[in-house]
Amino acid sequence: MNLAASTSRAIPPSSPSRHQDVAVESRDEASSSQGSGDQATGDVSSRALVSLRTPETNSTVRSLSDSLVVAGLTQAMDTTLGVVVVVSKPLIAVGQWLEPVVMPLLHAAAHPPLVPAGLSPAAMLTRLRRAGTTARNELVNGVDTEVRTRATPLAKAVLERVDTTAIVLEAVDLKAIVTAALDSIDLTDTVVSRVDLERVVTAALDAMDLTALVRDRVDLAALADEVIEDVDLPEIIRESSTGVASDVVRGARMGAIAGDDIVAKWVDRVLLRRRARRTDVPHERQEILADDQATDETVREPSAADPNDRSAHE
Protein backbone atom coordinates (compact mmCIF):
# COMPACT_ATOMS: atom_id res chain seq x y z
CA MET A 1 0.00 0.00 0.00
CA ASN A 2 2.77 2.38 0.89
CA LEU A 3 4.75 1.31 -2.13
CA ALA A 4 1.74 2.02 -4.27
CA ALA A 5 1.43 5.44 -2.75
CA SER A 6 5.08 6.18 -3.24
CA THR A 7 4.88 4.90 -6.78
CA SER A 8 2.02 7.23 -7.50
CA ARG A 9 4.11 10.08 -6.11
CA ALA A 10 6.95 9.08 -8.38
CA ILE A 11 4.86 9.67 -11.48
CA PRO A 12 5.73 12.99 -13.04
CA PRO A 13 2.99 15.59 -12.73
CA SER A 14 3.15 16.16 -16.43
CA SER A 15 1.48 12.82 -17.15
CA PRO A 16 -2.00 12.83 -15.66
CA SER A 17 -3.15 9.84 -17.67
CA ARG A 18 -0.21 7.89 -16.40
CA HIS A 19 -1.05 8.97 -12.93
CA GLN A 20 -4.63 7.85 -13.36
CA ASP A 21 -3.51 4.44 -14.65
CA VAL A 22 -1.26 3.97 -11.71
CA ALA A 23 -3.98 5.07 -9.35
CA VAL A 24 -6.42 2.59 -10.89
CA GLU A 25 -3.90 -0.14 -10.64
CA SER A 26 -3.24 0.86 -7.09
CA ARG A 27 -6.93 0.68 -6.29
CA ASP A 28 -7.20 -2.73 -8.00
CA GLU A 29 -4.24 -3.87 -6.09
CA ALA A 30 -5.69 -2.55 -2.88
CA SER A 31 -8.99 -4.32 -3.42
CA SER A 32 -7.34 -7.54 -4.42
CA SER A 33 -4.75 -7.47 -1.67
CA GLN A 34 -7.15 -6.74 1.12
CA GLY A 35 -5.91 -9.18 3.66
CA SER A 36 -3.84 -11.09 1.13
CA GLY A 37 -0.36 -10.40 2.56
CA ASP A 38 3.08 -9.59 1.22
CA GLN A 39 2.77 -11.61 -1.94
CA ALA A 40 0.11 -9.26 -3.16
CA THR A 41 2.32 -6.31 -2.29
CA GLY A 42 5.15 -7.70 -4.39
CA ASP A 43 2.76 -8.28 -7.20
CA VAL A 44 1.66 -4.69 -7.07
CA SER A 45 5.18 -3.41 -7.04
CA SER A 46 6.05 -5.36 -10.12
CA ARG A 47 2.97 -4.07 -11.87
CA ALA A 48 3.77 -0.51 -10.88
CA LEU A 49 7.28 -0.85 -12.15
CA VAL A 50 5.98 -2.25 -15.40
CA SER A 51 3.57 0.61 -15.65
CA LEU A 52 6.43 3.04 -15.16
CA ARG A 53 8.06 1.88 -18.37
CA THR A 54 6.16 4.24 -20.57
CA PRO A 55 7.74 6.45 -23.22
CA GLU A 56 7.33 9.52 -21.02
CA THR A 57 8.96 7.85 -18.07
CA ASN A 58 11.72 6.53 -20.25
CA SER A 59 12.33 9.96 -21.64
CA THR A 60 12.41 11.41 -18.17
CA VAL A 61 14.78 8.76 -16.95
CA ARG A 62 16.86 9.15 -20.08
CA SER A 63 17.16 12.87 -19.69
CA LEU A 64 18.03 12.41 -16.04
CA SER A 65 20.67 9.88 -16.88
CA ASP A 66 22.00 12.14 -19.62
CA SER A 67 22.20 15.07 -17.28
CA LEU A 68 23.99 13.05 -14.60
CA VAL A 69 26.11 11.18 -17.10
CA VAL A 70 25.47 7.85 -15.41
CA ALA A 71 24.68 5.72 -18.40
CA GLY A 72 26.09 2.59 -16.76
CA LEU A 73 23.85 2.96 -13.77
CA THR A 74 20.86 3.40 -16.03
CA GLN A 75 21.72 0.26 -17.91
CA ALA A 76 22.03 -1.69 -14.69
CA MET A 77 18.70 -0.41 -13.48
CA ASP A 78 17.06 -1.29 -16.77
CA THR A 79 18.53 -4.79 -16.59
CA THR A 80 17.22 -5.22 -13.08
CA LEU A 81 13.81 -4.06 -14.08
CA GLY A 82 13.86 -6.44 -17.02
CA VAL A 83 14.70 -9.35 -14.71
CA VAL A 84 11.95 -8.30 -12.35
CA VAL A 85 9.45 -8.09 -15.17
CA VAL A 86 10.47 -11.45 -16.62
CA VAL A 87 10.29 -13.15 -13.26
CA SER A 88 7.18 -11.44 -12.00
CA LYS A 89 5.03 -12.08 -15.04
CA PRO A 90 4.80 -15.87 -14.55
CA LEU A 91 4.41 -15.39 -10.86
CA ILE A 92 1.56 -13.00 -11.45
CA ALA A 93 -0.07 -15.41 -13.83
CA VAL A 94 0.30 -18.24 -11.38
CA GLY A 95 -0.98 -16.04 -8.58
CA GLN A 96 -4.00 -15.05 -10.55
CA TRP A 97 -4.65 -18.68 -11.44
CA LEU A 98 -4.34 -19.77 -7.82
CA GLU A 99 -6.10 -16.76 -6.38
CA PRO A 100 -9.55 -18.36 -5.89
CA VAL A 101 -7.95 -21.23 -4.01
CA VAL A 102 -5.10 -19.47 -2.28
CA MET A 103 -6.96 -16.41 -1.09
CA PRO A 104 -9.42 -18.27 1.16
CA LEU A 105 -6.57 -20.33 2.48
CA LEU A 106 -4.47 -17.29 3.16
CA HIS A 107 -7.43 -15.61 4.82
CA ALA A 108 -8.00 -18.62 6.97
CA ALA A 109 -4.29 -18.81 7.79
CA ALA A 110 -4.29 -15.16 8.74
CA HIS A 111 -7.32 -15.54 10.93
CA PRO A 112 -7.11 -19.05 12.30
CA PRO A 113 -10.00 -20.22 14.37
CA LEU A 114 -9.73 -20.52 18.12
CA VAL A 115 -6.85 -18.07 18.13
CA PRO A 116 -7.30 -14.70 19.83
CA ALA A 117 -7.49 -11.83 17.43
CA GLY A 118 -4.49 -10.16 18.99
CA LEU A 119 -2.37 -13.29 18.40
CA SER A 120 -3.55 -14.06 14.87
CA PRO A 121 -1.02 -13.87 12.00
CA ALA A 122 -2.99 -11.00 10.49
CA ALA A 123 -2.63 -8.96 13.65
CA MET A 124 1.05 -9.83 13.83
CA LEU A 125 1.51 -8.79 10.23
CA THR A 126 -0.33 -5.58 11.00
CA ARG A 127 2.01 -4.88 13.92
CA LEU A 128 5.00 -5.72 11.78
CA ARG A 129 3.77 -3.42 9.07
CA ARG A 130 3.28 -0.61 11.53
CA ALA A 131 6.73 -1.18 12.94
CA GLY A 132 8.11 -1.17 9.40
CA THR A 133 6.25 2.02 8.62
CA THR A 134 7.65 3.68 11.71
CA ALA A 135 11.14 2.52 10.87
CA ARG A 136 10.78 3.75 7.31
CA ASN A 137 9.54 7.12 8.44
CA GLU A 138 12.43 7.42 10.87
CA LEU A 139 14.82 6.42 8.14
CA VAL A 140 13.35 8.92 5.70
CA ASN A 141 13.42 11.66 8.31
CA GLY A 142 16.97 10.81 9.22
CA VAL A 143 18.04 10.87 5.61
CA ASP A 144 16.17 14.08 5.06
CA THR A 145 17.85 15.69 8.06
CA GLU A 146 21.18 14.40 6.95
CA VAL A 147 20.67 15.76 3.48
CA ARG A 148 19.54 19.09 4.85
CA THR A 149 22.58 19.42 7.09
CA ARG A 150 25.13 18.20 4.61
CA ALA A 151 23.72 19.35 1.30
CA THR A 152 24.72 22.98 1.67
CA PRO A 153 28.35 22.34 2.65
CA LEU A 154 28.52 19.67 -0.01
CA ALA A 155 27.13 21.98 -2.63
CA LYS A 156 29.57 24.67 -1.54
CA ALA A 157 32.44 22.26 -1.72
CA VAL A 158 31.34 21.16 -5.17
CA LEU A 159 30.87 24.70 -6.36
CA GLU A 160 34.30 25.68 -5.08
CA ARG A 161 35.85 23.01 -7.24
CA VAL A 162 33.75 23.71 -10.29
CA ASP A 163 34.02 26.83 -12.43
CA THR A 164 30.31 27.44 -12.53
CA THR A 165 30.66 30.67 -14.43
CA ALA A 166 32.57 29.02 -17.24
CA ILE A 167 30.08 26.18 -17.39
CA VAL A 168 27.15 28.58 -17.52
CA LEU A 169 28.84 30.72 -20.14
CA GLU A 170 29.56 27.67 -22.22
CA ALA A 171 26.35 25.76 -21.78
CA VAL A 172 23.71 28.44 -21.35
CA ASP A 173 22.41 30.76 -24.05
CA LEU A 174 22.55 33.83 -21.86
CA LYS A 175 21.45 36.12 -24.65
CA ALA A 176 18.24 34.16 -25.16
CA ILE A 177 17.56 34.12 -21.44
CA VAL A 178 18.19 37.82 -21.05
CA THR A 179 16.10 38.59 -24.11
CA ALA A 180 13.25 36.48 -22.83
CA ALA A 181 13.50 38.09 -19.41
CA LEU A 182 13.51 41.59 -20.89
CA ASP A 183 10.58 40.71 -23.10
CA SER A 184 8.59 39.45 -20.20
CA ILE A 185 9.11 42.45 -17.94
CA ASP A 186 8.53 46.16 -18.38
CA LEU A 187 12.00 47.34 -17.50
CA THR A 188 11.09 51.02 -17.63
CA ASP A 189 8.19 50.54 -15.29
CA THR A 190 10.34 48.45 -12.99
CA VAL A 191 13.06 51.08 -12.88
CA VAL A 192 10.59 53.90 -12.37
CA SER A 193 8.78 52.10 -9.58
CA ARG A 194 11.77 50.63 -7.81
CA VAL A 195 14.66 53.01 -8.39
CA ASP A 196 15.03 56.30 -6.58
CA LEU A 197 15.80 58.19 -9.76
CA GLU A 198 16.16 61.53 -8.03
CA ARG A 199 18.85 60.14 -5.79
CA VAL A 200 20.62 58.49 -8.70
CA VAL A 201 20.55 61.64 -10.80
CA THR A 202 21.63 63.78 -7.87
CA ALA A 203 24.53 61.47 -7.13
CA ALA A 204 25.53 61.45 -10.79
CA LEU A 205 25.38 65.22 -11.01
CA ASP A 206 27.34 65.58 -7.78
CA ALA A 207 29.99 63.25 -9.07
CA MET A 208 30.64 65.15 -12.29
CA ASP A 209 31.53 68.71 -13.13
CA LEU A 210 28.69 69.38 -15.48
CA THR A 211 29.88 72.83 -16.42
CA ALA A 212 33.31 71.57 -17.43
CA LEU A 213 31.73 68.68 -19.26
CA VAL A 214 29.47 70.97 -21.25
CA ARG A 215 32.31 73.35 -21.99
CA ASP A 216 34.44 70.45 -23.16
CA ARG A 217 31.93 68.60 -25.27
CA VAL A 218 29.36 71.11 -26.46
CA ASP A 219 29.95 73.59 -29.23
CA LEU A 220 28.54 76.44 -27.26
CA ALA A 221 29.11 79.01 -29.97
CA ALA A 222 27.15 77.01 -32.52
CA LEU A 223 24.48 76.26 -29.96
CA ALA A 224 24.17 79.92 -29.03
CA ASP A 225 23.90 80.88 -32.68
CA GLU A 226 21.21 78.30 -33.22
CA VAL A 227 19.28 79.35 -30.15
CA ILE A 228 19.50 83.02 -31.01
CA GLU A 229 18.43 82.32 -34.55
CA ASP A 230 15.49 80.24 -33.43
CA VAL A 231 14.17 82.56 -30.75
CA ASP A 232 14.72 85.79 -32.71
CA LEU A 233 16.28 87.48 -29.72
CA PRO A 234 16.23 90.99 -31.18
CA GLU A 235 12.50 90.72 -31.72
CA ILE A 236 11.96 89.59 -28.14
CA ILE A 237 14.07 92.43 -26.80
CA ARG A 238 12.25 94.87 -29.00
CA GLU A 239 8.83 93.63 -27.98
CA SER A 240 9.72 93.64 -24.31
CA SER A 241 11.06 97.16 -24.46
CA THR A 242 8.34 98.75 -26.52
CA GLY A 243 4.71 99.43 -25.81
CA VAL A 244 1.44 99.83 -27.62
CA ALA A 245 2.35 103.33 -28.70
CA SER A 246 5.50 102.03 -30.32
CA ASP A 247 3.50 99.46 -32.19
CA VAL A 248 1.19 102.18 -33.45
CA VAL A 249 4.14 104.29 -34.56
CA ARG A 250 5.72 101.29 -36.18
CA GLY A 251 2.53 100.56 -38.07
CA ALA A 252 2.22 104.17 -39.16
CA ARG A 253 5.79 104.24 -40.40
CA MET A 254 5.44 101.02 -42.33
CA GLY A 255 2.15 102.22 -43.78
CA ALA A 256 3.78 105.42 -44.94
CA ILE A 257 6.65 103.49 -46.50
CA ALA A 258 4.16 101.29 -48.31
CA GLY A 259 2.38 104.43 -49.51
CA ASP A 260 5.68 105.81 -50.77
CA ASP A 261 6.31 102.68 -52.75
CA ILE A 262 2.83 102.66 -54.25
CA VAL A 263 2.99 106.31 -55.28
CA ALA A 264 6.47 105.93 -56.72
CA LYS A 265 5.45 102.85 -58.66
CA TRP A 266 2.39 104.48 -60.18
CA VAL A 267 4.19 107.71 -61.03
CA ASP A 268 7.04 105.83 -62.64
CA ARG A 269 4.54 103.82 -64.61
CA VAL A 270 2.77 106.95 -65.82
CA LEU A 271 6.09 108.54 -66.72
CA LEU A 272 7.10 105.35 -68.55
CA ARG A 273 10.21 104.89 -66.45
CA ARG A 274 11.83 101.54 -66.74
CA ARG A 275 14.52 101.84 -64.13
CA ALA A 276 13.71 101.91 -60.46
CA ARG A 277 14.36 104.98 -58.38
CA ARG A 278 17.68 105.44 -56.66
CA THR A 279 16.72 106.32 -53.16
CA ASP A 280 19.83 105.05 -51.43
CA VAL A 281 22.13 107.32 -49.50
CA PRO A 282 24.49 109.65 -51.32
CA HIS A 283 27.93 108.46 -52.27
CA GLU A 284 29.59 110.61 -49.67
CA ARG A 285 27.44 109.03 -47.02
CA GLN A 286 28.48 105.53 -48.03
CA GLU A 287 32.07 106.46 -47.44
CA ILE A 288 31.27 107.87 -44.04
CA LEU A 289 29.40 104.73 -43.13
CA ALA A 290 32.32 102.64 -44.29
CA ASP A 291 34.67 104.72 -42.13
CA ASP A 292 32.42 104.22 -39.14
CA GLN A 293 32.29 100.53 -39.87
CA ALA A 294 36.07 100.29 -39.91
CA THR A 295 36.24 102.18 -36.64
CA ASP A 296 33.84 99.74 -35.08
CA GLU A 297 35.86 96.80 -36.33
CA THR A 298 39.00 98.01 -34.61
CA VAL A 299 37.14 97.96 -31.34
CA ARG A 300 35.97 94.41 -31.92
CA GLU A 301 37.75 91.23 -31.11
CA PRO A 302 40.17 90.17 -33.89
CA SER A 303 38.82 86.61 -33.92
CA ALA A 304 35.38 87.90 -34.74
CA ALA A 305 36.44 88.84 -38.25
CA ASP A 306 33.79 88.05 -40.79
CA PRO A 307 34.58 87.32 -44.42
CA ASN A 308 31.38 89.08 -45.36
CA ASP A 309 32.50 92.21 -43.63
CA ARG A 310 32.38 94.97 -46.17
CA SER A 311 34.86 97.15 -44.37
CA ALA A 312 37.43 94.37 -44.43
CA HIS A 313 37.29 94.29 -48.23
CA GLU A 314 37.42 97.98 -48.71
Binding site: L220, A221, A224, D225, V227, I228, E229, D232, L233, P234, E235, I237, R238, V249, R250, A252, R253, M254, A256, I257, G259, D260, D261, V263, A264, V267, L271, R273, R277, R278, T279, D280, V281, P282, E284, R285, I288, L289, D292, Q293, D296, R300, E301, A304, D306, N308, D309, R310
Partner: protein, 183 residues
Protein backbone atom coordinates in the same frame (compact mmCIF):
# COMPACT_ATOMS: atom_id res chain seq x y z
CA UNK B 1 26.35 81.63 -20.48
CA UNK B 2 24.72 82.76 -23.69
CA UNK B 3 25.11 86.31 -22.52
CA UNK B 4 28.79 85.71 -22.00
CA UNK B 5 29.06 84.22 -25.44
CA UNK B 6 27.25 87.16 -26.94
CA UNK B 7 29.52 89.58 -25.17
CA UNK B 8 32.57 87.65 -26.31
CA UNK B 9 31.37 87.65 -29.89
CA UNK B 10 30.42 91.32 -29.86
CA UNK B 11 26.94 90.49 -31.02
CA UNK B 12 24.79 93.52 -31.57
CA UNK B 13 21.05 93.70 -31.43
CA UNK B 14 19.52 95.81 -34.11
CA UNK B 15 16.59 97.69 -32.61
CA UNK B 16 15.05 98.29 -36.00
CA UNK B 17 12.32 95.84 -37.06
CA UNK B 18 13.29 93.44 -39.73
CA UNK B 19 10.79 94.64 -42.29
CA UNK B 20 12.03 98.22 -41.99
CA UNK B 21 15.72 97.54 -42.27
CA UNK B 22 15.93 97.61 -46.07
CA UNK B 23 14.62 101.16 -46.05
CA UNK B 24 17.05 102.55 -43.50
CA UNK B 25 19.25 105.22 -45.06
CA UNK B 26 17.10 105.51 -48.16
CA UNK B 27 15.29 108.69 -49.02
CA UNK B 28 11.72 108.84 -47.87
CA UNK B 29 8.84 109.19 -50.30
CA UNK B 30 6.08 111.70 -50.57
CA UNK B 31 3.63 109.96 -48.26
CA UNK B 32 6.05 109.71 -45.37
CA UNK B 33 7.26 113.25 -45.78
CA UNK B 34 3.77 114.65 -46.17
CA UNK B 35 2.67 112.88 -43.02
CA UNK B 36 5.67 114.17 -41.10
CA UNK B 37 5.13 117.65 -42.47
CA UNK B 38 1.45 117.47 -41.59
CA UNK B 39 2.32 116.75 -37.97
CA UNK B 40 4.77 119.64 -37.96
CA UNK B 41 2.21 121.94 -39.53
CA UNK B 42 -0.33 120.92 -36.93
CA UNK B 43 2.17 121.78 -34.22
CA UNK B 44 2.78 125.16 -35.77
CA UNK B 45 -0.92 125.84 -36.13
CA UNK B 46 -1.51 124.88 -32.51
CA UNK B 47 1.38 127.07 -31.42
CA UNK B 48 0.06 130.00 -33.45
CA UNK B 49 -3.47 129.64 -32.10
CA UNK B 50 -2.05 129.28 -28.62
CA UNK B 51 -0.21 132.51 -29.10
CA UNK B 52 -3.42 134.16 -30.23
CA UNK B 53 -5.33 132.78 -27.24
CA UNK B 54 -2.56 133.79 -24.88
CA UNK B 55 -2.66 137.27 -26.26
CA UNK B 56 -6.44 137.41 -25.70
CA UNK B 57 -6.04 136.29 -22.12
CA UNK B 58 -3.30 138.83 -21.62
CA UNK B 59 -5.55 141.59 -22.93
CA UNK B 60 -8.34 140.41 -20.66
CA UNK B 61 -6.07 140.58 -17.66
CA UNK B 62 -5.02 144.09 -18.54
CA UNK B 63 -8.55 145.40 -18.97
CA UNK B 64 -11.13 142.95 -17.73
CA UNK B 65 -14.09 145.35 -18.08
CA UNK B 66 -13.62 146.66 -21.54
CA UNK B 67 -12.24 143.46 -22.92
CA UNK B 68 -12.73 142.65 -26.54
CA UNK B 69 -11.40 139.59 -28.18
CA UNK B 70 -8.48 140.71 -30.33
CA UNK B 71 -9.03 140.65 -34.02
CA UNK B 72 -5.93 139.86 -35.98
CA UNK B 73 -5.72 140.01 -39.70
CA UNK B 74 -4.84 136.76 -41.36
CA UNK B 75 -1.38 137.85 -42.39
CA UNK B 76 -0.50 138.25 -38.72
CA UNK B 77 -1.23 134.59 -38.24
CA UNK B 78 0.84 133.85 -41.30
CA UNK B 79 3.76 135.86 -39.99
CA UNK B 80 3.63 134.28 -36.58
CA UNK B 81 3.28 130.86 -38.09
CA UNK B 82 6.17 131.56 -40.44
CA UNK B 83 8.41 132.65 -37.60
CA UNK B 84 7.45 129.70 -35.51
CA UNK B 85 7.97 127.30 -38.33
CA UNK B 86 11.38 128.62 -39.32
CA UNK B 87 12.51 128.63 -35.73
CA UNK B 88 11.14 125.20 -35.04
CA UNK B 89 12.54 123.62 -38.17
CA UNK B 90 15.92 125.27 -37.75
CA UNK B 91 16.28 124.13 -34.17
CA UNK B 92 15.12 120.62 -34.97
CA UNK B 93 17.24 120.05 -38.06
CA UNK B 94 20.38 121.62 -36.70
CA UNK B 95 20.26 119.74 -33.40
CA UNK B 96 18.82 116.29 -33.95
CA UNK B 97 18.08 116.38 -37.66
CA UNK B 98 14.45 115.63 -37.06
CA UNK B 99 11.32 117.45 -36.11
CA UNK B 100 8.59 115.86 -34.06
CA UNK B 101 6.77 114.80 -37.19
CA UNK B 102 9.96 113.38 -38.61
CA UNK B 103 10.54 111.53 -35.37
CA UNK B 104 7.10 109.98 -35.49
CA UNK B 105 7.56 108.92 -39.08
CA UNK B 106 11.17 107.84 -38.57
CA UNK B 107 12.90 110.19 -40.99
CA UNK B 108 15.82 112.54 -40.61
CA UNK B 109 17.28 115.42 -42.58
CA UNK B 110 20.93 115.03 -43.53
CA UNK B 111 23.30 116.95 -45.71
CA UNK B 112 25.14 115.64 -48.74
CA UNK B 113 27.66 113.96 -46.47
CA UNK B 114 25.00 112.21 -44.51
CA UNK B 115 25.62 114.28 -41.42
CA UNK B 116 23.46 116.73 -39.59
CA UNK B 117 22.87 119.91 -41.50
CA UNK B 118 24.64 122.98 -40.22
CA UNK B 119 22.83 125.85 -38.55
CA UNK B 120 22.94 128.11 -41.61
CA UNK B 121 21.80 125.29 -43.84
CA UNK B 122 19.06 124.44 -41.41
CA UNK B 123 17.95 128.04 -41.32
CA UNK B 124 17.94 128.38 -45.09
CA UNK B 125 16.16 125.08 -45.55
CA UNK B 126 13.59 125.99 -42.91
CA UNK B 127 12.88 129.31 -44.56
CA UNK B 128 12.72 127.65 -47.96
CA UNK B 129 10.25 125.06 -46.71
CA UNK B 130 8.15 127.70 -44.99
CA UNK B 131 8.02 129.90 -48.05
CA UNK B 132 7.67 127.19 -50.65
CA UNK B 133 6.15 124.13 -49.01
CA UNK B 134 4.86 122.84 -52.32
CA UNK B 135 8.46 122.18 -53.28
CA UNK B 136 8.15 118.98 -51.27
CA UNK B 137 6.08 117.45 -54.03
CA UNK B 138 8.92 117.37 -56.46
CA UNK B 139 9.80 114.12 -54.76
CA UNK B 140 6.76 112.56 -56.39
CA UNK B 141 8.43 112.66 -59.78
CA UNK B 142 12.08 112.97 -58.80
CA UNK B 143 14.03 109.77 -59.33
CA UNK B 144 15.82 110.25 -56.03
CA UNK B 145 12.77 111.19 -53.98
CA UNK B 146 14.21 114.66 -53.58
CA UNK B 147 12.22 117.82 -53.06
CA UNK B 148 13.08 121.23 -54.46
CA UNK B 149 14.77 122.11 -51.19
CA UNK B 150 16.78 118.92 -51.29
CA UNK B 151 17.92 119.55 -54.84
CA UNK B 152 18.87 123.14 -54.17
CA UNK B 153 20.50 122.65 -50.80
CA UNK B 154 21.86 119.14 -51.42
CA UNK B 155 20.06 117.66 -48.50
CA UNK B 156 18.15 114.43 -48.10
CA UNK B 157 15.34 113.19 -45.97
CA UNK B 158 16.15 109.61 -45.15
CA UNK B 159 14.50 106.84 -43.23
CA UNK B 160 16.19 106.53 -39.86
CA UNK B 161 14.34 104.60 -37.21
CA UNK B 162 17.23 104.46 -34.80
CA UNK B 163 16.74 106.38 -31.61
CA UNK B 164 20.30 107.49 -31.06
CA UNK B 165 21.22 111.05 -31.82
CA UNK B 166 23.82 110.39 -34.43
CA UNK B 167 23.21 112.02 -37.72
CA UNK B 168 24.79 109.19 -39.60
CA UNK B 169 22.97 105.90 -39.48
CA UNK B 170 25.16 102.88 -39.05
CA UNK B 171 23.72 99.98 -40.96
CA UNK B 172 23.54 96.59 -39.27
CA UNK B 173 27.09 95.26 -39.00
CA UNK B 174 27.99 92.04 -40.74
CA UNK B 175 28.03 90.14 -37.48
CA UNK B 176 24.74 91.49 -36.37
CA UNK B 177 22.26 88.87 -35.28
CA UNK B 178 19.50 90.20 -37.39
CA UNK B 179 21.54 90.39 -40.50
CA UNK B 180 22.56 86.77 -40.04
CA UNK B 181 19.01 85.74 -39.44
CA UNK B 182 17.76 87.47 -42.55
CA UNK B 183 20.21 85.74 -44.82
Amino acid sequence: MIGQLMSERQVRVDPIPREARPYQGNRAGVVTRTAAGGIDYAIIVIATLSTYASYGVFVFLLNPRGVQWPTWPFFVFLIIGFVYMVTYLTLAWATTGRTYGARVLGVRVVNFRGNKVSWPSALVRAAFCAVFPVGLYLCIVNRGNRSVQDVVLRTSVIHDWSSHHRADVTPPPPESLDEESTR
